[in-house]
Each structure stands twice: as C-alpha cells, then as structure tokens.
C-alpha cells in the first residue's frame, strides 16, 4: 500500500509562542492607561466648566456677587498648598530613580499632609457657607436676603465642582499614601509612584482653573 501524498508533505516549522510586544504592556502601557483615564476625567470637568460659562453669561451679576461672597483667602491658600504639594510629588520621582526610597516616601507623605490641609480649609469654607444658609438648589436662609438672579446657580455649581474636586483630592491622597508606603522599596516602586503622581498633578491642574472662577473674578476682575 502506497503512502498518502498528504502524509509525505514536510511538516511546517513550529510557530513561535505568542508573546505580547514589550511596548504593549508594562510601564508604558500603564502610563498610557492613566493618561487616557485623565483625559476622560478632564472631559467630565470640561462639561461643568462649560455649564459655568453658560450661566455666567446669563447671570453676570449673580456670579459676581457669588464670587465676592466666597472666602478669597481660603481659596488662594489652597492654591499655594496644592502647587507646593504637586512639586513635592514631582520631586519624589528623581529621588526614587536614584534608589533613595526613604526620601521619596517622606516627600510623598508631605504631599498627603498638604492634601489634608487643603481638605481642612475646604471643610472650614463649607462650614462657613452652611452656617450662612447657603444650601443646594437655592434653599437656605441666605437666599431670603440675597435675591440677585443667578446666585443659586452660582452656588450650585460651586458645591458641585468644588465637591467633585474635593473627592478627587481624597482619592489622590489615598493613592499617594499607598505610593508613599511602596516608595520605601526604592527604584522598584518607580512605576507605581509615577502613576500616582500623574493623578495628583491632574487634581492640581483642575484646581488651577477652579480658583479664578470661584474666588477671583469678583474683585477687580
């Protein structure tokens, strides 16, 4: 019996095992993931900023009065706090790259503490507003004596945008706390810490735009 022509065919060489290209994962992929996440977050805030712009156009007087009513010193102190905290987070990375994990961990811990200061001042500000009767949706004693059109819209946006930002600060503090703990491992923790600092800088970036809109535009502006 003659052999089948199919069995006489030479076998194809074995295919190499499937493996992801190095650039598809690892630190680069994680960084890209965080950048995409932050881009989507910025679109969320952009929608709220657009809403602010529209209402500001419609009720310029109400927004002017609203900004003048906010605690300018408090918002400005918080700006300085967040900028310095961002610098501390950024300065932790070169230390970590040189395997100075303890120094980096300390700087990240300072960042977390500055975040706590930010939230403390924000809490003081919220308590002050609530004490005055500035509630949500135009409710509260404040609106019985202040009738300028647009004030409720201003303060609703204030609660919404600064509240959402404060939640981001809280999330950032948690992530930075974990990063601070990991940073003691030195250079091996670099990738994780870098991602945490990127998120923290984004939180800072959003505040840089919230500050003039809610605290400064009512003065000479």
């Amino acid at each position: 019996m003659s052999a089948s022509p199919l069995t006489d065919l030479p076998l194809a060489p074995a295919a190499p095992p499937l493996r992801a290209a190095p650039e598809e994962g690892g630190p680069r992929g994680a960084r890209l993931g965080v950048v995409l996440f932050l881009a989507s977050e910025s679109l969320l805030f952009a929608g709220l900023f657009a809403l602010y712009a529209a209402y500001h156009q419609k009720y310029p007087q109400g927004f002017l009065e609203g900004v003048r009513h906010d605690l300018r010193w408090d918002g400005s102190a918080n700006t300085a706090i967040l900028l310095i905290s961002s610098a501390c987070a950024a300065a932790a990375l070169p230390l970590l790259a040189r395997d100075r994990g303890r120094g980096a961990a300390r700087l990240l811990l300072v960042t977390v503490c500055l975040g706590a200061c930010f939230l403390g001042l924000k809490g003081y500000e919220y308590a002050d507003h609530l004490h005055e009767g500035i509630g949500w949706g135009g409710r509260g004693a404040f609106y019985r004596t202040h009738h300028t059109p647009g004030l409720p819209q201003f303060f609703d946006l204030y609660w919404l945008m600064t509240g959402l930002h404060a939640l981001h600060v809280l999330a950032g503090m948690t992530w930075m706390g974990i990063a601070s703990w990991l940073a003691r491992r030195g250079r091996r923790a670099f990738d994780h810490v870098e991602l945490a600092t990127m998120y923290w800088h984004f939180v800072d970036l959003v505040w840089v735009f919230l500050w003039p809109l809610f605290y400064l535009l009512g003065g000479g502006f």
């Binding site: 712009a53 156009q57 961002s86 870098e194 970036l205 535009l217 502006f221």
Partner: protein, 95 residues
C-alpha cells in the same frame, strides 16, 4: 522609547514651582485691577499657562511618547469643540 523616561530633576521641579507661584501671584494681583470685559480671558490665560506648566513638566507630557501626546491632544480638541458649541449656544441665546 525606554520604559521610564528620566524624571524631572529636583532643581527643575523647584524652577517650575517658582514659575507656578509667580503666575498664581499674577492672578491674585490681576484680580484687584479693574479689567472689565478682559477679566475672564486674562484670568483663564494665566490659568492655562499654569496648566501647561503642570501638564508639560510635572505630569511629564514633554517627556512621554507620541501615543500619550495623541491622547492628550484628542482630549484638548474635544474640549475645544465642547467650548465652541457652548459659546455658539450662549451667543445665539443672547441674540
């Protein structure tokens, strides 16, 4: 692209921080000057400068690869489209 581009050195971090604090002081100073209808554009321009410093050097977009830049540029373009549509709407409503 290497997995970890070199982070910003500490002296440069300090330099960026000084620039950011200077711009914040400028915002504070400008808020005490009567600027009329230029108030919002000036305030937002200063804020954008601060934003560029933070995104470019602290986040490190100037050091990251093309894919990261494309993601950021796409987000910025989408935000600009959103702002454009809102501005059109507001101008239309004002008549």
């Amino acid at each position: 692209m290497p997995p970890n581009p070199a982070p910003l050195s500490v002296p440069r971090v300090v330099l960026v921080l000084v620039a950011l604090l200077a711009l914040a002081s400028l915002s504070w100073w400008a808020s005490h000057v009567p600027l009329g209808r230029w108030a919002s554009p000036i305030a937002l321009t200063i804020a954008s400068c601060k934003g560029l410093l933070i995104a470019g050097w602290f986040v490190g977009l100037v050091r990251l690869g093309a894919a990261h830049r494309i993601a950021v540029i796409t987000a910025v373009v989408l935000i600009l489209i959103l702002v454009w549509f809102v501005a059109e709407d507001v101008i239309h409503l004002r008549g």
